[in-house]
């Protein structure tokens, strides 16, 4: 727990350092910087791994789908504003839900982190549901607080508010990378327990009913190693890191409804989006939980194999999460106008 917090704090500190210089950054649809730096060269955006036409077609479909959903959202809000009856609201709720599902498929909404977390930690199905619900709630609250604070409280202009979302996103991606590093580190040191306590001290806080016969294969010198167990205390930081990035669609709808004087409709839409996200993340979390269970059943014959498998899952899963977090963090910086 402490190590996780440390990782998160480190990530936050790095971000703070990064953002300290951020005020000079310019947005394409914002004010120009006081001293205009040289225009960027027309360079290829990023290097890209080998591509397949099927994957590309899939990308294109998702892209079109998302853009259509965004358009429909605006139309439903406008229809409600003009007609004031219930039909557009129902349409809006349905589209919001679909948007939440579609958006949850994207990065930064905790799927990979959730899968890796539950792949690495023993957990009950209820834990998976709780974690997903936490992510959903955090995500909705984050969007509402963000728009509430920026547009309502500080009276930041709408165009600037859209821009400012990028900072929250960059922060979220950095946090997710931190969670990935933490999970991967658990695989390296053979941390069985998600509490990340010092090697020798006792397992305060939660009882272990299992036999302590795991052997001393990890070389840390402590008496036994508990199988990883997901506790609420360690789920909260993961859920926070995963959910803190507000849904872009939610921000857009909230700003839109705010300027139309029907903010409450935006809030409802945001909550329904989170419901969609929650369902997707919950499904992925449950798959990870049951996959892990199947793994430990299969590995019952060989303790060593099971442990090695678990450590590999932690390591690989953690590294994947770290890589995703880092990639998207990097891109968020690019979007903010940093030449990185």
């Amino acid at each position: 727990m402490r190590r996780l917090l440390n990782t998160l704090l480190l990530a936050l500190a790095l971000m703070a350092a990064g953002f300290a210089g951020a005020s000079a950054q310019t947005s394409p649809f914002g004010r120009p910087a006081p001293t205009a730096p040289a225009a960027p060269e027309s360079k290829p955006a990023q290097t890209k791994p080998a591509d397949q036409t099927l994957v590309e077609r899939w990308y294109a479909t998702i892209r079109r789908w998302q853009s259509e959903l965004t358009r429909s959202l605006a139309q439903e809000v406008r229809a409600y504003k003009e007609q004031g009856d219930l039909a557009p609201v129902l349409g809006l709720l349905l589209i919001s839900f679909l948007y939440g599902v579609a958006h949850a498929v994207g990065p930064g909404h905790g799927k990979v982190a959730t899968a890796a977390y539950f792949g690495a930690n023993r957990a009950a199905a209820a834990h998976g549901i709780t974690m997903s619900a936490l992510i959903g709630v955090v995500q909705a609250v984050s969007a509402i607080v963000f728009v509430g604070a920026f547009a309502l409280l500080f009276k930041v202009s709408q165009t600037e508010t859209v821009r400012s979302v990028l900072y929250v996103e960059a922060a979220s991606f950095a946090l997710i990378a931190g969670v990935g590093a933490w999970i991967a580190w658990g695989g390296v040191v053979g941390r069985g327990c998600s509490h990340a306590h010092a090697p020798v001290h006792a397992h305060a806080g939660h009882p272990h009913g299992h036999a302590h016969d795991h052997g001393h294969h990890h070389g840390h010198g402590h008496g036994h190693r508990a199988p990883a167990e997901a506790g609420l205390a360690s789920m909260v930081p993961v859920a926070l890191a995963s959910g803190i990035r507000p849904c872009t669609g939610a921000i857009l709808v909230l700003l839109f409804t705010l300027s139309q004087g029907i903010f409450e409709i935006g809030v409802i839409s945001t909550l329904v989006m989170s419901l969609g996200t929650f369902l997707v993340v919950a499904a992925i979390g449950l798959v990870a939980i049951y996959a892990r269970r199947a793994a430990s059943r299969a590995g019952r014959g060989g303790e060593r194999v099971a442990n090695a498998a678990q450590r590999s899952v932690s390591l690989v899963g953690g590294l994947v999460v770290l890589a995703f977090g880092a990639l998207f963090f990097h891109n968020a910086l690019l979007q903010l106008g940093f030449k990185v």
Binding site: F29, S42, A45
Partner: protein, 198 residues
Amino acid sequence: MRTLQSLLLALALIAPAAAAEAHPHIWIRATATLQFENGKITGILHEWVFDDFFSNALVSDFDKNKNKQFDPDEVKELEKNAFAALKEFGYFTHVRVGGKAVTIETVRDFAPAIQKNQVVYRFVAVLPQPVDPRTAQFDAGVYDHSYYVDVEVNPQLGVKLAGGGAEACKFAVVEDKEAPLYFGATFARRIEIRCDKN
């Protein structure tokens, strides 16, 4: 170990889905008209139609008197606060002459408008020097390489050639595999110009 394999498989399945989430915050439907003079390309007339959300943001920020149009003083404010900074981004206009990047520094005739709830930017991106597409290979892309803005140019209807000498030229829109956007979620498109030699 079989479970480990299936877990890796699951991760492999999740990965492209994650990358597939196109992640722009602003969407633009763009039309690019390549302007010719005496057979040389002098600039690109852009017409950018913004999505409903960003349009709404621009209208509520800049249509101060709420008359559903941008009056001259409002245009001035808009230009200063939501257009001028595009210079730093080369106006999303990525021109190459003979394969070498040419930076757009100058624009003219900026004219924003509100059309049926949607904001439209019209302006001309001026080439530093006119380019003869017969002697130098010319191509141009309209995109934001950070993908904060998704600029969509319709490959057929989104490109036009106009002006003296344009009739001898044709365009082709190709995907630039060298310029993936958002981890290859999509690719930048380039407008290539081919002209009859005479």
